[in-house]
């Protein structure tokens, strides 16, 4: 390496600089606000996704309650050996299946129901909560669904079968729900 002194460049650093600091601070604040808004948006989207996931219809009850095509027949009630079974809702669950929601009134003689007594024909899945029973059944061709009632040992001695038939057209349930 040679020992020549470097050229003096200090004078080249004495330039007139523009004022940029206020613009920089304002730009920084703007970026913070924009990023905060994006972060909030991301949080909201995430929360909405979690909410939607948590509330996705997992059970037949969720599916019936979330169905967009449904009917609420007013005359669907049957007395079965002292208990009263009421059809509350009929819903189109798509793919050739129908959702049925029943309420089972306590037996007038005080006998309990345990949730596995109703057996509509073509049941694919079912779930019970308290006095409510939910079923997904295959769509009936003629709109009629036979429901067997199995009273196995809940009172008296041994099982006692009964049945009733739900006539959806007669109950005024539109055919586009059950066909």
């Amino acid at each position: 390496m040679d020992n020549q002194p470097p050229l003096d460049l200090r004078s080249l650093g004495e330039v007139d600089s523009p004022e940029v600091i206020r613009a920089a601070l304002a730009s920084f604040r703007r970026r913070v606000v924009v990023r905060s808004l994006w972060a909030m948006l991301a949080l909201l989207v995430g929360a909405a996704a979690i909410y939607a996931l948590a509330w996705s219809p997992n059970t037949v009850r969720d599916q019936i309650q979330g169905a967009t095509i449904a009917a609420w027949p007013e005359r669907g009630a049957w007395d079965v050996d002292g208990a009263r079974v009421v059809l509350l809702e009929v819903a189109d669950l798509g793919e050739g299946t129908v959702g049925l929601q029943f309420a089972v009134a306590p037996d007038q003689r005080g006998h309990p129901w345990y949730g596995d007594e109703l057996h509509p024909a073509g049941t694919l899945q079912s779930v019970g909560y308290g006095l409510e029973r939910y079923f997904e059944v295959k769509a009936p061709i003629d709109g009629r669904i036979e429901v067997r009632v199995l009273r196995h040992g809940t009172w008296g001695n041994g099982s006692a079968d009964a049945s009733f038939t739900i006539d959806l057209p007669a109950l005024g349930v539109p055919s586009d729900i059950w066909r």
């Binding site: 040679d2 020549q4 003096d8 460049l9 200090r10 004078s11 330039v15 523009p18 940029v20």
Partner: protein
Amino acid sequence: MELEDVFRNHQQAMFAYFYRVVGNRHDAEELTQETFVRACGAAIRFRGDSKVSTWLFGIARRVLLEASRAGLFERPVELDPDIATSPGSAGPEELLDLERALASLGVGDREALVMVDMLGFEPIEVAGILDISAETFRVRLHRARARLREAYGDG
């Protein structure tokens, strides 16, 4: 000291750095501003284990690197006659020749010369900013000085 004051103390050096390395006023102004914007966000992480100027020029260097990847140096160098340089030890003619000689060098040479011989950084500080060894930077600086002398002599 307020961040604004810190920036104000370094504004001229920062702009001069960008102007001499990039070669045009508009880009230099934008890069200076962007450096201060980034420094606002990075200030909370500044631990004070280096000089403020070293910290700031480290950010400036990263801003420059990103700009160069975006094609900054594909534009021609445009010396702005309106950016007056104070006549120090050199006369106006000599100064103009020096500017031309510096502008004729490559970006790496300009950066090394600007940081050490114009802004007064120690070579070891610049090596840290550039993330290279001190010895490598000394060699780069030596070669840049030789090329500047040659270009200045030709002018």
